[in-house]
Each structure stands twice: as structure tokens, then as C-alpha cells.
Amino acid sequence: MSSLSYLVSRLLQIIPTFLLVMVVIFLLVRMLPGDPAIAMADAKATEAQLELIRQKLGLNEPLVMQFFYFVKNTLSGDMGTSILLKAPVLDVIIERIPVTAFLTLYAVCLSILIAGPLAFVAALNKNRGLDIAIRSGFQVGLSTPVFYIGLLLLTFLAASLRLFPVGGYGTTFLQHLHHLMLPALTVALYTSAIIMRNLRSAVIEVLDADYVQFARSKGLSRSVILGRHVLRNALISTVTLLGLSIGNLMSGTLVTETVFAVPGLGRLMLEAIFARDYPLIQGLTLTFAVMVSLVFLFTDMVQAWLDPRLRLS
């Protein structure tokens, strides 16, 4: 199979995923307890005002018709109007995608930068002091709640040492890098702990593999062996894991974006859920689903590049 047809077939697989997500999100939102009209209106609203909201949202229509309109409108690019923000859902999401994408990418880069070198150091010093120290250090990162790490970083690095701003996003690229350092680091600490453990075992496994022994006996230099043979082979499973953890990472933005006052999709999702803003919740969930699907697609492409067997099978 050529690379192009592989890409096309993977893209086509996204369509059923997308439809399934639409069904699930439509039903899930409607299964939430509490009348959305009450959630959206103030407690002081009269029955007539509530009825007006229900009409606006089409909540009085049969479920099947509601779903039909939902699919029809979404496919034509109309995700409705957010009750909470009084603005078109699509506009709001488009405004915020770059923020969350920036934060996620930043966090991924940081996790690779942290986990990669340390995994190698740990693997090459298997079961020695350094390995144990690295692994226990990451264990702390894994077992501490994300919001707590966030608050600790904010308190010490931002409020006390003033190295970073306390929350916000900034306006220029450099400001984004500066403002998002702590939230990205918060998320990265957790993700890198998972990646490090996986990469470390993969490296250890590959180091014992026949082809590495063979490369050694050929007299290849250590750096060539590690770079060309060990890294590439050890990365295959780690890339899968990284792809999967980006999904996690995005859900992590719900907490981090709130703690760090980052105006991204995660914080918006939290606000939308609390306000029972149906159109916004649906729009955001679909956006997350598309983003995660695209990340998985990208992961598959990278894997195929790393491991030709996948392309050829």
C-alpha cells in the first residue's frame, strides 16, 4: 500500500468515529440531570422565560428531530449559538483552538525534552542509583494531582520568584511561550513520567536485541548504535503512547487552563458544562474528537515512517 492510499484510508476511518461521537455526545448531554433552561436562565427567571429558552434550543421537539437538526446544522458548519457567551459556537471555538493547540504542543515538546534524555540515562544505568533516582522522581509527578502541581509552580516560580507571570496567555508568540511555560510544564510533568517509564523499558529491551548486539560486534560507535538502532526502534511504542497521552493531555487542559487562567477550549468546556450550555458542550466535544482523531492519524503516520512494516502490511 502506498503512503498516500494509507493516508486516505486512515482519513476515511475518521468519518464513522466522528458520527459515533455525535450520537454519543448528543445523548450524553441530554442525559445530564437538571433542566438546561433552568441552568441557563437565572434562578429568578419566570416559567415564561424558561419556556422561551426551551423553544430557542428546540428542547420541546422530539429527540429524533433534535438529533436530525443537530447533524444537519453541524455538517453545514452551524454549531448554534452559545447561551452562555451569546455568540456563535463556531466563532468561539475558532478563537480558542490556537490557545489549546499551543498549550498541548508546548506540553508535548516539554515532555519529550524531559522524558527522552532521562529515559536513556536511566536505561543505560539500569537498576543503579541514577536510574532509581530518576524513576522515583517521576513517581512523585505521576501521583500528584495536576492542579496541585500547578498551584505549587505558580506559588514558587511565579508569585515568589517572579520568573513567570501568574496565569494568562499574552499577545505575542514570545509572550505565549512565557505565559504558557508553567501550565505546559504542569501537564508535561505528568505525561513525561509515563513516557519516561515506557521509553526506558523499550530502550532496555532494544539494547538486548540481536541486531544491537550485532551492531556492537561490527564495531559501530556507541553514538551510532544509540542514535540509529536503539532510538528508532525504542520510539515505536513510545510514539503510540505519546499519541494516546495527547488525548489525556487535552482533558488535562480542563484543569490546567482553569488554574492558570488560560483562555482555551478546556476552561470553556468546564464553564459550558456548569452552565448546561448544550450547543457549546456539543461543539467543544466534537472539536476535541476531531483534534484527537487527527493526533491519532498523525501518530499512525509517524509510526509508519518509523516502522516500514506497518506501511507494507
Binding site: 445530564l32 437538571g34 438546561p36 437565572d42 434562578a43 468561539v92 507571570p165 501568574v166
Partner: protein, 525 residues
Amino acid sequence: MKTLLIAALAGVSMLAINSAQAVERGGTLTFARYDDSNLVDPVYADRNPDIWMVTNLYDTLLRTKADGKTIVPGLASGYEVSADGKTISITLRDGIKFSDGSAITPADVKFSLERATNPDFGPWSGLLGSVESITATDNGVTLAMKNPDPTIISILATFNTAIVSKAAFDAAPGATDQEKATALFAPGTPVSGPFTLKDRSRGSTMTFSANPHYWRQGEDGKPLPYLDEVSFVVIPDDATRILKLQAGEVNGAEFVPFSRVAELKADPAINMELYPSTRIIYSPINSRETRADGSPNPMATKEARQALNYAINKDALVQLITHGTGKSMTSPLMASTTQLAHDGGPLYPYDVAKAKELAAASGLEGAEITLTTLAGSSDDATLFAAIQQMWGAIGVNVKVEQVDNPTRGAKNRSGEFDIHTYGWVNDVNDPAQVAGWLGYYPTRKAVGTGWNNAEFNSLFEASNTEIDPEKRSEQYKRMQEIYADAAPLLFLYETPFAVALSANVNGYLQTPLGNNEFSSAWIAK
């Protein structure tokens, strides 16, 4: 001796200078908010982050002073109410302008008030339900009333009657009034308030800049506001908002959790303000004969509800939950800052013996009551733990049911609850709104309790057309007596608005209604 006298005089004059520190103009005040404004428009503002910002951009005809009670002239220099209360003539101040320099005319006022009375626009038109028609005159407007309305003067000092530019609405894009209002919540819109909107990034930041044509004078004899700009940043997390202030990145942070007040008070760089509010924390008690499932309701008698109230140590709750910043309710219907609040001392002072006696007499002993609380609210969790223990002493078992806000709202409306937590802040500088909400059955079944008292209902109706202030005050006194005695609520406590400011910020005010007032704020350099 003479030298001593001079020194003493000098000392006294220094003191005088220090106590009346001269205002300083200019600068930007940055303020961390818990939530963003989505649409700041007099008639469509329906959430507190919107409502509380309206009067910064749009001025009202009359204004409420900082005490939250006294009405003073605003864009109107005065008003006259006819003897029968059915005509109100409002005279506009001379020379008032919108921020683009165009005059504020009677036509703008008529347009603004007609928007405010239109039942199709926004949730507040009911506040002007007594207005029959609005006519523009040479120098103001005349309101013809369907019936005399004692609240109308207060309503003319309320955000929903603030004055917008008719020309701006005529020119704005959009098919409906709401679309136009949304389009006008943007930089460049001419406004009548002390500030104009300079820029805004949804969910993140918003900047106000001084309106160069604003009419009100500052202490230095020049027009307000003192500040060049107010810059808002939205930081939903309480701890982060406070850190931002401590790091010196903002000059103010609102909604400081009460647990942090003492710590911030001790910080010399921070001025921890507790502004009196109209906020009350109470719990509606299902007062119907039967529960929603048809079983007999142990809280149906007033004696049972009185017992529950006597058995609560409010002082302990004030300490536990508000860390001493709140106080027990003294009026059953409203916060003590509200007009016509009757101060009968703390309601239902803690009295276990009396509570036991009433519980035994009303058959409350051994009853099981469910307290519906907000999931994730630490205040509610503390309240539940305290109440469970306090009511244990009178033989009442308490179960907890944790729900989210929409579910709690739905339960309140359907009556499927025993007792649930709730809070309230007045939107209007008149007790009719809160009294209607808590006690008047036709509004919302007396805040969902099902309590329906004919005398209260007719007093409330009469008070809404009573223009003799003394008679109205008497009606309110009687309503408060009836309500306190019937106890359809657990009367808990009042809380202030906690705002932390940098020590060099002066003149900022959060009014008892919650409005954020920046017009008189200034920064000492």
C-alpha cells in the same frame, strides 16, 4: 510655649492633610475577575458579571449612593412625582454628552426606557411593568403610570434603565435588538457612563478607558473618572487570582474566599476590603403538607420549622463558613443593607431547649430530613456537617444529597426537596424584588417552599402601589413579622463582598448590589 503651640498646630494640619489625601489622576488599574462579561447592555445583562459592569459604561437617570439606599440625581438633574403618583416628570441635566461628544437627548432617554419596558427584550422588563407610556419633552421625559409605583424611583437608578444612544442602535448591524446590542458591545460604541470599552478578548481580557465627556465631577473639581484605564483579566481560580495580586501583576482581585481574608488583611501591601452587600445565605424549607412523593412532611408546621431554626447556632456557622466575616440575618426577608429591612436583632437565636420543646410539640423528633447541597461546595459541606450535629441534639436525623446547580434549581421548582442551600443578592435598590422572591407565592411559590400566606400576599400586593413611604414601611414591617414567625427558610447569615486591592488603590467600591464602581477609583503613585 509659642514654639510648642506652632508645632502642635503643624501636627494637626499634617494630620488633616493625611486624612484627606488628595486624589491623583491617571494610570491604569488592573483588576482580576472571577468571570468575564459576555454582554454588557442594560436590558440583556442577565448574569452578575454582566449586570455589575453596566453602570461603568452606561449611566442611569438617578444614582444610588455608596450606602446602597440613598437616591441622588444622575443624568437627570431632578424628577417630580405627581400627587396621585401617576405621572413622573424627569428633567435631564444640561450639557450631558455621550462619549463621542454627541448630546444625550430626551429621544435617547425615551428610546432607552422603551427598550427597558419591552417584555420581548431581556429579563428585566417586569421592573417597569407599571409604566404605561414614555413621552419625550423639551428637556426630559414624562412617564405615565398605570398605577402608582413606589419602586419606580429606585428602578430609575438601576442598571436596566441606563441610557444608551438611539443613534448608535439605529446604525448598528443586526436584524433584532439583541443582535444590535451584541454588535454594540464593542470598542467605539458611544456610551453615557464614566468609561468606554477600549478592547476585549472574549473570556480573557477587557479594557475600559475614561470617557472624556463624562459629566460627574471628582473631588478635584474636574470630571470623573480619575483613572485613564481599567484593565480586566479573567482568572476563574480563586487561588490564582490572589497569587496574581500578591505578585503585583494586578491591583485588585474580587471574590476572595473568606478563608483567605485574615491572611490578606495581615499583608501590609494589600488592602483587604469587605464591602457590605445585600447577599444572604439561606435555605428554603419545603413547607407543603406532603412531600413530593406524597408522604407526610415533618416540616409542614411552623413550629417544626421554628425548632429547626432555633437549633442552629448561626454564630458558629458565621465562624466556620465565613471565617467571622459574615453576620446572622436580622431581617427574615432581606439583608440588613436593604431598604425597609426591619432589624429585630438576630433571628432565632440559638436555643436548644426551646428547639427541643418545639420539636417535641410538632412531632419533628425522630424525623429524617434530607439536606440538598451543591456538590463540590466546601461551604455546603461544612454547613451540612454542622447542621447534622446541631439537629442531632433535637432528635432530627439529617441525610445529605449532593447535586449540581442546575439540578438544585430544578428541584426547587418542582418541590422535590426537604431543605436545600441557596443564596441571593438584590439586583434592585428596593426590597420588592427580594420580598417577592422569598415570600410572595405567585412569583415562584415563595422561593419554592410552597408557603402561601394570604395576609403576606395581600400586603405585598398593596405595598407595590403604596406611595406613602411610612405606610409602605409599616407594610414591610408586618410582612417581616409574618415571615419570621412562619419560618419557611432556615435563616442563616449575610456575607460581605471580599475584594483585595493593592495598598495604593483608593476609591474603588463594590456596592451592596454588587456593582463594581471604578469611576471614583484612583491609584496613589
